[in-house]
Symmetry: C2
Subunit: 385 residues, 2 copies
């Protein structure tokens, strides 16, 4: 049996999305900048798709900037805002549990004259507003906190942070890719100025990201050229991918409520049954403020990579944390931020379900995982029952 | 009848390429950074595709950096090289006939402490080495000259420039997208350190570019994050697009010689017959050092946009110049650089053929264009026979 419970790392493109993209590959393949029939069709598809995608977050089409993915959106948001607004101040706050791209962007800004503070999280991975407020100075221009952790699934108090930032005139960016398609997103309501989204995270094609830029927020562009995307992101628009993402949004409009209901049942079964079937297994992340598709555990006496390899042999694909750092030997910075020791962080397993997850897959994991953990523990010189 | 002779602006994706991409959308959709079966399959596809794509330019896989397109590749090459190597010098040379993205990047660098010189071209759009050498100083670190003009199709003396730069320890970047799939490219042989390529320019999907980075050449990354592409370009790899581009390269290996032969016949018919059927029509660009698919004319007493609209009404899609600037009212900077007056530059028409161009299409254009030009001239208060 093949079971894929690593939707956090990568999602298949919905076949309906692929179908919507195909005509844009070799029938309607024009460049929106061209003054002919194919160019007009491309412009129309671009405008229509932009409006549809904006609808996912109750935004206007002209608040949507297309990029090549979430990483680029994070770069454009944080570096673009910092460089454009450095006269206002040189201090930026990010969270301890943000994606590695945000942390590496922060390092880059530190080398370029900015000061960066990291706001800590509690043992469930959640930020407390007071801890954020403690770090704000009169030089602070930008706060960047993920909407939810892509690893442990903890959802942040985004509206609270947004209200706080808005009151103080500090821009607020949130990387919302982990929450996309799972939670209802409304940046205007939540005081969010910049929001990173990605196409693949809602079963659209890879290679396409979105940055929501609230009207009036000014950024320096990162990629310079022909002036597409109102000068914020040059390069010929990737119409097939954009049309695909629009289709992915349309599917969500129809199906998100049911889908999230299904994910929640799967997640809750995993969270209830795995610790009851496996001794000394603990849930990572928050019990309530948690993504509906995320179950994340640690096991005493288990090394995460060995566990993944055993699961792979049993046909199960899962993760120990962010895919973006899986191939390094570093423990997850998110788990360390929640106060886990290195060896505890290394003994973790992330299971994320998605659109094509079935009851049978969940049952198989529940039946298989206990034996795999027990087998590994028997080999471990460190583990004692 | 529908005729598309604007392959320079945008190309359809070859149906065989789409077929090669489809399995990567919803069967092999893993993240190469993941430690499971889907991740392994993605890594394998990535490695294999990278080698295939490198083969197009006789390079090694580890000299290939995937980006989101040609514009980003130009940004990474020029800004990335300049920022990383500014201790060596602060002077950069670009050509008058480079793509607008290169010109706008040059402006950006000028605002950031660099000096930029533009090397002029002759009336055929070609650079003379002496004119380049005249502009080199002991502060010059980088020369960026397009391989061929995407507008008038003039091919530059790239090997000559490469040899000159190599001798002086100056890095040489070339934007080769207009020449890709039409001329044989060999950066190692031609003394090229950095070469921009794009997937769509060889009938691969949009949203994917390549930067060839010769071993030993150091760049600052533009997009920061998880450290993909050896730290030069972060972001989850777009495997379906990369596999698609690899398929596009495989097709070229089989078909490029025949295809270019066909294009050359089409181009030569256009270049011979249009000026013979239409009075006061002149060829723009070089007669010999010219892309095999490019025919570019100017017509006395004709306004290019009006011509495009009439052609559109007759079912013909063409261009007045770079699609990236078609919607502005500026005349083509490339034509101005060849010494044309503004009104002459505005009276131009670019016809570029491609993989799906037929004899029937060429015949239709040859039969239709004279009447369209004549009709417009009759309306013109300026044109006198």
């Amino acid at each position: 049996m093949e079971v894929y419970l690593d939707y956090q790392s990568s999602k298949p493109v919905d076949p309906r999305v692929v179908e919507a993209m195909v005509p844009f590959f070799h029938e309607n393949f024009g460049n929106p900048s061209s003054l002919h029939t194919e160019g007009d069709a491309a412009t129309e598809a671009l405008t229509h798709s932009r409006e549809t995608i904006a609808g996912l977050i109750h935004a206007d089409g002209d608040e949507i900037v297309f990029t090549s993915g979430a990483t680029e959106s994070n770069n454009l948001a944080i570096i673009g805002y910092a460089l454009r607004n450095k006269k206002k101040g040189d201090h930026i706050i990010v969270s301890e549990v943000d994606h590695i791209s945000v942390h590496n962007i922060a390092k880059y800004l530190e080398k370029n004259g900015f000061t960066v503070s990291k706001v800590p999280v509690d043992r469930y991975g959640r930020i407390h507003l007071q801890k954020l407020a403690d770090r704000v100075t009169d030089r602070t221009i930008l706060v960047s906190v993920c909407y939810a952790s892509n690893e442990i699934g903890t959802v942040q108090p985004v509206a609270e942070i947004g209200a706080y930032c808005r009151e103080r005139g500090i821009a607020f960016h949130t990387d919302a890719v982990a929450a996309e398609g799972l939670l209802s997103l409304d940046p205007a309501q939540d005081g969010i100025d910049l929001m990173t989204l990605s196409s693949n995270d809602i079963y659209g094609p890879k290679g396409l990201g979105v940055l929501f830029v609230r009207k009036g927020v000014r950024l320096s562009p990162l990629v310079i050229g022909g002036g597409q995307e109102r000068g914020l992101r040059s390069g010929t628009e990737n119409i097939p991918a954009i049309a695909g993402m629009a289709k992915a949004v349309e599917i969500l409009h129809e199906e998100m409520t049911d889908e999230v209901g299904r994910f929640t049942l799967f997640r809750d079964r995993l969270i209830e049954e795995i610790p009851s079937r496996i001794p000394r297994c603990y849930l990572n992340g928050h019990t309530k403020e948690r993504l509906p598709n995320n179950a994340h555990f640690r096991f005493d006496g288990i090394e995460g990579e060995a566990l993944l390899l055993r699961l792979k042999a049993a046909g199960i694909s899962a993760s120990t944390g962010s895919a973006c750092t899986s191939k390094t030997l570093e423990p997850s910075h998110t788990l360390i931020a929640t106060g886990l020791l290195h060896e505890e962080a290394h003994g973790s397993l992330e299971l994320t379900c998605g659109r094509f997850t079935t009851d049978t897959e969940i049952n198989y994991v529940l039946d298989t995982l206990p034996g795999v953990v027990e087998g590994l523990r028997k080999l471990s010189p460190l583990y004692k029952e």
